[in-house]
Amino acid sequence: MLRRSLSLTLNTIKLYLSDPAPLLVFIFMPLGLMAFLAPASRSMLQAQGYLHAGGAEQAVPGMTVMFSFFVIGVIGVQFYREQGWGTWDRLRIASGTMEILVGKIAPGLLLLLVQLIVVFGAGGLLFHLHVAGSVPALVLIAIGFAVCIMAMTMMLIAWCRTLDQLNVIANVCAIVLSGLGGSFAPVSALPQWAQAAAKASPAYWAMQGMRGIILDGQGMRTALSTCLALASFAALFTVLTAVRFNVREAKVSET
């Protein structure tokens, strides 16, 4: 089973690389936005008492988290195109559902991790991000967040019949959930109702964990509690996926 899933993983990576434009956009665009947001973030952080903050402490994790949601569409395309290209049935004739799912989820997860690490790493270097706490703890949160986003992607694929539906919902989620979660501005700067709703967003937990490590010098304990919260979201998304996912359902990749 693993060899077959590995061959599908490698083939899917080949397909991503055959059309890398969307992925490159979602790597370079957040870096561009960080340049605009860092100065504004500096004033907000200084107002919160982080007097030596340069703004990257908010802008880098904020844009990284937000653009991870946008990658849902890029990963989703590879599922819908399998059907549009007629290859989904070919895969099914020769193999079981689990082999196909593992072979398609693994490259999606890898893509999310690469995007998270490249955007966070490049942003950190370009905007002189100083991490007061544990860097391995940050990596652990990145892994937990990638798993959570991948589970959310599978849930949306299970429930959306068309690629257009998936893209619209993924884009709305990217803006609403990351905004609520504190990607644009610290949650404490949001209205009361938004602060109350923020905990329903996985972005909130990821941002809180990253801020704790970057600004407050926290470590693995924070990373583990953050990953626990993200794992709860992932579990919920997986249950919702299991309720609706049907390997035989015809998906529409083109309008």
């Binding site: 055959s18 007629g86 049935d89 020769a94």
Partner: protein
Amino acid sequence: MLEIEGLQKSYGKVKALEGIDLHVAPGEVCGLIGPNGAGKTTLVSVVTGLRDADAGSVRVAGLDAASNRKGIRGIIGCAPQELGLYPTISVRANMEFFGRWNGVRGRKLSTRIEEVADALDLASLLDRRAGDLSGGQKRRLHTGLAMLHAPRLLFLDEPTVGADVVARMRLLEAVKRISSQGCTVVYATHYLAEIESLGASVAVLEAGRIRERGPLAEVVARHGQSRAELEFSGDAPRLAGWQQKGSRLSIVTADPASATAAAIAKLNGEASRLRGVRIVPASLESAYLAITGHGPDIMEENNAQA
């Protein structure tokens, strides 16, 4: 090799398969023919595991398909009706992936890619992007992807749609070759001449049921209708036993040559207006039309229009 018993499948209230019984022997090429909506694609989908049957059983190489799905996967190859290939990567990359996906690796995979590419005239296209191929080339690649793991039972669902004459001949040659090597082929098509070219046995499917099944020669002998046609300048004369339509006389008979000779002898003075004689032997086409209840009229109308 393939034993189907009492297979049923419905889509809501529409019964696509109503108790199909079909046996195909090892090495046999079975031509699956029938009108659009007869259930050919549903039958292939159920047997290959893409859809579940409502009732009935399918056995492949002695294995029950419902309980041994994993076991029969390596035995089956299938090129579905809809094209299935990755357009953004090369022909070779498509073949490498689907070879691996079907369990072929290493040197054996390289050899099989060469063999299949040669057989289907794809060798010069291996480094082209699959999406840049013509319709016929894509169809050949699509079919070749199902052959890479040398399956013992191969389903080809309308494999020559969009293929030009040469591509079609190549594909038919490839099917004959793999059949001679012991591969059983179920070949669904609307092109009856392909069934004749393959020397395949015939299964006529209509409204979810097998209407006729047997070797090509037997099916044609049982249902095929030979006929004779006489073409005149001006309106054709009336002749007992012959059907007159405009300038043409026609008759459906087991012995069209004798009927023609007898008719010409009876023409007397009208013989000078005779412009042509055509003897149409019994064929799978006429047998198919008889089985599906269309009779020879539709063929005559078609000839008249031609």
